[in-house]
């Protein structure tokens, strides 16, 4: 696969875009995910240092990889920051085609990985990887939830280490797997019967939703994290799970 075939995505572009790229034989790269060897400092000349770590990751990856085309979701399924970033990347990468799209897909793909027994880090990796494919999800045996994780895939997946394999995933991560990122009803859904950690990236508008939903949940912990998971942040989650009898 040569660099000419490399196409980047930000957020969850519409399924029609993914299908089009698959038909072209493109190599799809998810710029939201950290890329080995790419420093966040690469984003510092076009974004403030105190800013969403996911969007800084996108900028650093885009500047380092210089993909020929970048499809970036600027709709409600992503965030206002992505719309601003699209503007910035057009200036920063004049040789790249930055294509703003809005994903209003309503066809549910289901979210089997979110509800199966699997180490949560592996589960989240599988969910994020599924964004680059239009194929139907394989079957995953659902499990009974003993804990919940609500939110977006964190910038640093080590935040997910304390959770048991039987953690169900909610929030925007579930919308991702369902391929309906602009589905606020699904995003706001949670299971009130299991202890749930509500997570948002620091400086993300979703932190307001985190506080709101965590206050409505009978057994919740609201957390945020920036670039890397702090030891105290991970310890909070571990203690919350332990004190609620989650093994």
């Amino acid at each position: 696969m040569n660099a000419e075939n490399r196409v980047a995505i930000v957020g969850v572009p519409p399924l029609a875009v993914i299908r089009q790229l698959e038909a072209e034989g493109a190599e799809i790269i998810d710029l939201d995910m950290p890329v080995s060897g790419v420093s966040l400092e690469r984003a510092s000349h076009c974004l403030p240092k105190v800013y969403c770590a996911i969007l800084r990751t996108v900028a650093a990856n885009a500047i380092s990889l210089r993909p020929r085309r970048i499809f970036i979701d600027i709709g409600r399924g992503k965030c206002d920051g992505a719309a601003h970033l699209a503007t910035i990347l057009r200036y920063a990468l004049p040789d790249s085609e930055v294509i703003a799209v809005e994903n209003h897909d309503r066809q549910p793909f289901s979210a089997p990985r979110c509800q199966t027994a699997m180490p949560l880090i592996d589960k989240m990796r599988a969910i994020t990887a599924s964004v680059t494919s239009s194929a139907a999800h394989p079957f995953f045996v659902p499990c009974r939830a003993t804990a919940g994780f609500w939110g977006v895939p964190p910038r640093d997946f080590s935040l997910l280490e304390p959770f048991p394999d039987t953690t169900h995933v909610f929030g925007w991560a579930r919308c991702m797997e369902n391929k309906t990122p602009d589905n606020s009803e699904l995003e706001e859904f949670f299971d009130p019967t299991v202890p749930t950690v509500f997570f948002a990236q620091s400086f993300c508008a979703k932190s307001a939703l985190v506080r709101h939903l965590a206050a409505r949940h009978p057994c919740a912990l609201a957390v945020d994290s920036d670039v890397a998971t702090s030891g105290s942040g991970q310890a909070k989650i571990q203690a919350f799970l332990e004190l609620n009898g989650v093994r």
Binding site: P218, L221, S230, G231, S232, G233, A235, A239, L243, N244
Partner: protein, 218 residues
């Protein structure tokens, strides 16, 4: 069984067969290995390490009669709290960055300026302090501007207490854990009711955890 709270400045030890807990300066507690421990240095110095927030919450469960309360632990290096409502953990926080070295700095200042916190009064004003280290510059500035060293340090301590109070959610009644329970100036600097539980709350939590059936089964 030897239980330990390996703090940054002090080590708290409890031999469950002996009864009373002991306090050692961390720099003097070389070569001690505990069966079960908590604290910053517990991973290397114990057979089994327990999350500090878990130990704090368990200790609160033993020492506090109510089922709804906020318990704040102010240590040498960090501050952390747990809030329970009707017997269930409702919120918790652990500030290792912006609460850095508050307890350590308070002790350091007493030695440097030869102050006795038991004889000092709470000042009317306070500094805006979110970090022990960065907050010291307020003291130097105040002294330059004519405040006494005792007055400047007292304002600093009141600022720390207010910051810790807000961090814990500004409760009407606050249970306090940690070495600063022995500092009357610090306790009186809080705006609400403060009930000091002493510096062995985490050890109490460890003892409760070890007593729970199966918690530390191999």
């Amino acid at each position: 069984m030897l239980l330990a709270d390996f703090g940054t400045s002090y080590v708290k030890l409890l031999d469950t067969a002996a009864g009373e807990p002991r306090l050692l300066a961390t720099k003097d507690a070389v070569g001690i290995t505990a069966d079960v421990a908590t604290g910053h240095n517990s991973l290397k110095r114990a057979k089994r390490s327990v999350n500090e927030l878990t130990a704090l919450a368990k200790g609160g469960g033993v020492l506090i009669a109510e089922d709804s309360y906020t318990l704040l632990d102010c240590g040498s290096r960090d501050i952390k709290f747990v809030r329970f409502e009707q017997g269930r953990v409702k919120d918790m926080g652990w500030n290792t960055e912006c609460g850095a070295s508050m307890g350590f700095t308070i002790e350091l200042l007493a030695r440097y300026y030869h102050l006795d916190y038991r004889t000092m009064t709470v000042p009317r004003r306070s500094f805006s302090v979110t970090c022990g280290v960065l907050g010291m510059s307020h003291i130097f500035d105040a002294v330059i501007e004519g405040a006494s060293e005792a007055e400047a340090v007292a304002r600093f301590i009141k600022g720390i207490a207010l910051n810790a109070f807000v961090f814990a959610g500004s409760p009407e009644k606050l249970y306090l854990s940690g070495g600063l329970c022995d500092n009357p100036l610090f306790i009186q600097s809080f705006p609400g009711q403060v009930i000091p539980l002493g510096r062995f709350v985490l050890l109490t939590g460890l003892r409760a955890l070890t007593a729970e059936n199966g918690v530390f089964a191999p």
